[in-house]
Symmetry: none
Subunit: 234 residues, 4 copies
């Protein structure tokens, strides 16, 4: 279930074990690239800006990562470690599904509350969906799909249906959709809803709402499902 490591591409220089150490040029480049890619997306980001912000020579990107895509690939690689795995952890834990659902939603939304970390992971995904890079399919395969599958499992278990049942999928989508609204439309919402301050308290209220909104239907479904099973049972 663990996402595979993104394969190395055309860089001239093989990546050393300590390569992403913060002090090195390579490490600094990687750090800056994550920032810039998250701000502009793969296509609109320029190696020039990444190099300049890193205080590195413009040729450094090609030297260390082969080309722009190589650098992007590396950034994506780090994204998995930094983001997918923690969320995966939440999904894997041994707790009542209702509690897990609540935690997933809160974890997800906390990424967008203002002061927190810049949440570059998310913005990269948004750009990737708006305008896919050549690595889009890899992003899907190694980031989206595993998480999606796991969430399907969780939802299925909750409502008592197999993970790949259409109803299971639709329910999972309903939950995810509510979260993604705040994630992908954040700038719009901030303009359109003056009272949206994204304080931890407000984000908490939003998360609670999503949980309640979703559980209303899911519990109903679970109840029906048990009835059906009981009826069709012995």
């Amino acid at each position: 279930m663990k996402p595979q490591i993104l394969q190395e591409r055309r860089s001239r220089k093989p990546r050393a074990g300590h390569a992403s150490a913060a002090g090195s040029t390579r490490g600094k480049l990687l750090e800056t690239a994550a920032q810039v890619f998250s701000e502009r997306g793969y296509h609109a980001a320029t190696v020039r800006e990444i190099a300049k912000r890193s205080g590195a020579n413009i040729a450094a990107v090609n030297y260390h990562f082969g080309d722009k895509l190589g650098l992007y690939s590396e950034v994506l690689h780090h994204m998995i470690a930094a983001r997918v795995e923690p969320l995966q952890a939440v999904l894997e834990q041994n707790a009542p599904p209702e509690e897990i659902l609540r935690q997933v939603i809160k974890t997800r939304l906390q990424g967008i509350s203002t002061g927190a970390l810049p949440d570059w992971h998310l913005r990269i995904m948004i750009h990737e969906f708006a305008q896919p890079s050549p690595l889009m399919s890899r992003v899907v395969k190694e980031i989206s799909r595993p998480l999606y599958m796991r969430f399907l499992e969780l939802t299925g278990k909750f409502i008592g249906l197999p993970p790949d049942d259409e109803t299971t999928r639709l329910c999972a989508h309903s939950v995810v959709g509510q979260i993604l609204l705040y994630v992908t439309q954040a700038p719009l919402l901030l303009q359109i809803w003056p009272d949206l301050k994204m304080t931890p308290e407000q984000v908490d209220r939003i998360a609670d709402h999503i949980v309640n909104f979703s559980l209303a239907y899911l519990r109903e479904l679970r109840a029906n499902q048990r009835t059906v099973r009981n009826k069709s049972g012995p």
Copy 2:
């Protein structure tokens, strides 16, 4: 409440009434531009490609629309007529809120069924949020905000709360989020859910699911609201 018309920008020639007739260079340009902008977004789209695909000279864009932004502005303008207004019409009609809700969802989702029109309107919006163009604020003001406000009203009326109540907003967001998932994440879903064919029948089932999923909570809320009102009433 009707969204205002986007104002003309720097184009040298005023737009004639029949200007977007399919046969004319100008019309062809506009048509192609909508396509290209929806594929690549404002920034990544190139005037060159638009001109080439239109079979027009590259300078024709400048002649008819002043510059790239002028062309984009015109495309946005047509977007209102072709998309926002119909949806607005649905929202304005005199019918039970439950029915309107169902229609909104269906109208929205039908845009993505059948590969016919690749739903360029939405793709443009997605690009706009991923990487705002200089016209972003106008897009919000004239497209998003009016629809959002109207939908808030509808939701508020349904659950018996004022349109700008936080609960009203959160409920509206929950409904919209479910729809937007299919709209913004369509390419991902197609990869990740092999059985997603977007046939009219399936889209209908999806729409019904969203309605049911949402009403489960909204009705609950409405019931509570009435209880509260009755209790605090005479």
Copy 3:
């Protein structure tokens, strides 16, 4: 001695007798062109701007004057009538050379005193010398040369030497140079000499200075010349 008429060029439309009437498109075009050419010079001026400022279609220039150069040629033609002839008149008049000299200088300088007419003639000449247009040689032949020759004659008569004597030429140049400084370097002088207000009074003082400055040497020369002639005479 009268400057020849600039020959018509490639215009499709032969110039009618009343063509430059103020109200007509053609006349308006000509008027605006003089303005624009004097502001920007032949190369930097654009037919677009001329057409726009005239409220005329961009193709009007080509229609009436063949091409940009044809329009410029026509402007030059009017320049002769409006500017060269009056100055010529001053030079031709029957008066003591000293008085003519004073008048030439004053006439010339008054063109640059602020409020007066925009003196587009002069600015066109400046541009022409900075970056000659294809019509430069015609400008010289029909405008500069006749005036220069006449001024040489005047100077020669004053100091008692033939017009094409080197000394005559050098003296004429000394006078003309003093005038041209204020004409070609006006913008610089305005920046560099805060008290230069170009009021009629100040322009008068400048003109008087140039006259006095020049006569100091010219009179000296004339005196010497007479002595020489007397000595070598009978």
Copy 4:
């Protein structure tokens, strides 16, 4: 009193000490640019032509100088070292004013004798006044003004008046104007005066004429001034 160095602009790379070495691309570019800018002026000159004549890629200009204006700025900078400073030196030297005046005139005129260097410095100034570039004010501040001020001082000392007296200014203008005629109107004069060969001997004669022409009035003024001072003195 020394003119300040023009500040570096947007070029990406700081200028090394030996950067304008003839062999380097950068040096060649600079050399060609001076040529082209002097021929066409800032606006009409094209980066393409400069690059092509230099045998360099068009992007090299951007690389070395940031943009067209950056290159122009650098050319102006070199102009100071090559031209303004020597003239400044002449003006600063400790010699009788009459002798300095003579030298200034000769130095100035020698720039145009012998077709060798086509006196690009001056041509750039002429273009600058005909159609100012965005650097016009800097040109004035760092090139024209210091020289002008110094010349005012010299003239004032000669005639015994303060440098900023109107009479001092008018006299200085009269001298400068005579020089500038040959400098700004050279092409015209060559057409109009067939015997103008610009041989060193002839240029010398011109310089001597200007000196004599000017001194006739200046000495007169000085004499008057002394009389006045003596009368009003003790």
